[in-house]
Symmetry: C2
Subunit: 325 residues, 2 copies
C-alpha cells in the first residue's frame, strides 16, 4: 500500500507553506552558538507542517492575507515543536521520527531552556499577526495543551480512568491546537462568525481523530515507518483508547492489567500486552471512534462554500484516518 | 542592622498590590488536582512582588488604570516565577527562600510542565492588558531571559568570559524583565515617549544592580537570611561578577581557579574559593558597579515629575543595594 504524501494533500496552499518554512529558518538565526545548534536540530524540516497548512487553508475562506496567516502558522508550528521538545524531556524519550530527540543529543537542562526559548519565540511570532484576540486564543490553547500533558503524566498507570476522561485529555493535548489553527486562520481572514465556528469545529474534530489514530499506531505501527518502537505509550503508563476499550471488554486478569501492575521489569510484559490489544476488537472500535470525529469534522465543513480549499480539507480528513506514520 | 521591609517601600501602590495577589490566587483555581497542588506551592505569597510593584509605580506617571496595570503586574510575576521553577529544574536546586523547590517536592517531569502551564498563563494574562505592543514586548523579554539562562548554562566553568559578557548575560537574564515592568506600566498608562524611555531605563538599570547584588550575596550572604547556602552559583560553574573581578586581579594559580578546574569532589574546594573572593577587593568592586547602575537608574528618574511614586522608586534603588536576602 502506498502512502499519500501529505504535501500533495495541501492543494491550493502547498506553495505558500514555503513562507512558513522561511520564517522558521529565520527563527534559527540567533547569536548564541549552542542555542543555534539546538534550534537547528529541533526545527529540522521533517515535520508534516499539518497545523500551518490548516491555518492557510482556513484563511482561504476570507481575506487570504499571508502577512498575517504565515506568522500564525509559524507560531503554531513553533508552539507544537516546543511542546514536543518538552514532552521528550518529560518522557525521557530518545528518538522521534527516526531521529534522536533534543534531550538525547544535548542535556535535559539545556533542552528545557530550548523549549522555553521556542515558546517565547512562538508568543512573539503570534503577535506579528496584529490580532490580540488571536494571540489570546493562542495562549489559551497552550494552557489546554499543558493541562492535557499534566493530566497524562499524573494519571500514568492508573486504570481507573474512562473513555470520557481520555477524550477530555486529548481534547486539550492535541485537538485544542488543531482547533486554534483553523479558528485563528479564519479570524485573521475576517471570516463570518458562522465560518469561524465551522472551521474551528473542523480543526478540533480533526485533531481528535488525529490523536486517536496516533494512539492506534502506537499499537499497530511499523517501527521503520514510525521512526520509534511500538508500545511507547503503554511503557510510559499512558492508557490510550485501544487499551481502554480492551480493558472494558476484558475486566478480569489479562496481559494489559498484568503489564500495568508489574513491579520491576515491566518491559518484559509489554509484547504480550500489545499482542492482546491488537488481537481484540479494541483497535477496530478505536478506528470507529476516529471515523466518528472525522464525520463531525466534515459536518462543520459542509456549511462552507465548495472551494478547492474545502476539498483539500476533506481529503486531509481521509489522510488523517489512513496515515501509517 | 535592621532590614527595611520592601512592602513599606512600595509607598503609594502598596495597597493596590493586593489586587495582584488576588489575581495570582485566581490562577491557582484549576480543575486538575495535581496541578492545583503544584501551583499552590509555586505561587505561595513569599516573593517580594518587586516587579508588579514596578509596573504599578510606573503606571502612576500616566493614566493609572488598574484594569490594565494589574494584569501586567500579575503576568510578569507569573513569568518570573515560571522561569524560577524551570531554573530550579535545570540547576537541580533543592531549596529557594528557605523552602523546598517544586522539583524537590514533585518530580522533574511534572515540574517542567508546571512551568509551561505558568508561561501559558502569563501569556494569557498579558493579553488582558488589551495592548498588543505590551504583549509583544513581554514575549521579547521572555526570549531575552531564556537566552541569558542558556548562555549561563552553556558557559558554565568557562573562565574565558569577561565582565562585558557577564553584563550582557544578566541584561537578558534579569534586567530585561525589570525594564519591561516599568516600560510596560508606562505604555499602558499612556505616558509620553520620554517618560516611557526614562522609566524603561530606570527599570533596566535597577535590574542590573539587583542581579549584581544577588551575585554578591551568593558570596557574602547569610544562609539563614537567604534561605539557601552560599556559593551555589560557583558550585554550578556560574562565574559571576565577584569571581570575575577576583580572577582578573589573581591571574595565576588561585583557589577559585583550582575549584573550577577540580575533577571529582569539587565541593571540597568551595570554602577556600569563597573565602579568597570575600577576602579580596572583588566584593567592593562589584558593589561599586551595582552603585553605578543605580546611579544610571536614578538619572532616568530625574527627568520625571517629583511625585510620591518617584520618591518610592528612588528609595527602592537604595533598598536593592542594601538588601541582605
Amino acid at each position: 500500500m502506498t502512502q499519500t504524501q501529505p504535501q500533495a494533500l495541501y492543494g491550493p496552499v502547498a506553495e505558500d507553506l514555503i513562507l512558513v518554512e522561511d520564517l522558521l529558518e529565520s527563527v534559527k538565526r540567533v547569536d548564541l552558538a549552542p542555542l543555534r545548534l539546538m534550534l537547528d536540530h529541533a526545527l529540522a524540516p521533517r515535520g508534516k507542517r499539518l497545523r500551518p497548512a490548516l491555518v492557510l487553508l482556513a484563511g482561504t475562506f476570507g481575506d487570504y492575507n499571508l502577512n498575517r496567516l504565515v506568522p500564525l502558522g509559524t507560531a503554531i508550528e513553533l508552539l507544537h515543536t516546543a511542546s514536543l521538545v518538552h514532552d521528550d524531556v518529560v518522557d525521557g524519550a530518545t528518538s522521534r521520527r527516526g531521529r534522536p530527540t533534543a534531550n538525547a543529543v544535548f542535556d535535559n537542562a539545556l533542552t528545557v531552556l530550548l523549549g522555553d526559548f521556542m515558546f517565547a519565540n512562538a508568543a512573539e511570532m503570534v503577535t506579528r499577526t496584529g490580532s490580540l484576540p488571536v494571540t489570546r486564543l493562542f495562549a489559551l490553547a497552550l494552557m489546554k495543551m499543558t493541562n492535557g500533558e499534566l493530566d497524562q503524566d499524573s494519571a500514568a498507570f492508573d486504570v481507573g480512568r474512562d473513555v470520557q476522561h481520555y477524550l477530555w485529555r486529548i481534547g486539550g493535548k492535541t485537538a485544542a491546537l488543531f482547533g486554534h489553527s483553523t479558528q485563528g486562520g479564519a479570524l485573521l481572514a475576517g471570516c463570518s462568525e458562522g465560518q469561524v465556528e465551522a472551521l474551528r469545529s473542523y480543526g478540533y474534530n480533526l485533531g481528535m481523530a488525529f490523536q486517536i489514530v496516533d494512539d492506534i499506531l502506537d499499537f499497530t505501527g511499523d517501527e521503520a515507518e514510525m521512526g520509534k518502537p511500538a508500545g511507547g505509550d503503554l511503557l510510559e503508563g499512558t492508557i490510550t483508547l485501544p487499551a481502554l476499550f480492551y480493558l472494558e471488554t476484558a475486566p478480569g486478569e489479562n496481559p494489559v492489567r498484568s503489564f500495568l501492575a508489574a513491579d520491576g521489569d515491566r518491559a518484559a510484559f509489554l509484547p504480550e500486552a500489545l499482542a492482546a490489544v491488537v488481537a481484540s476488537d479494541a483497535i477496530g472500535r478505536a478506528q470507529g471512534m476516529a471515523q466518528e470525529f472525522v464525520d463531525r469534522a466534515l459536518e462543520g465543513l459542509s456549511t462552507l462554500e465548495a472551494t478547492d480549499a474545502r476539498r483539500t480539507l476533506e481529503e486531509l480528513s481521509s489522510y488523517v484516518l489512513t496515515r501509517r506514520s
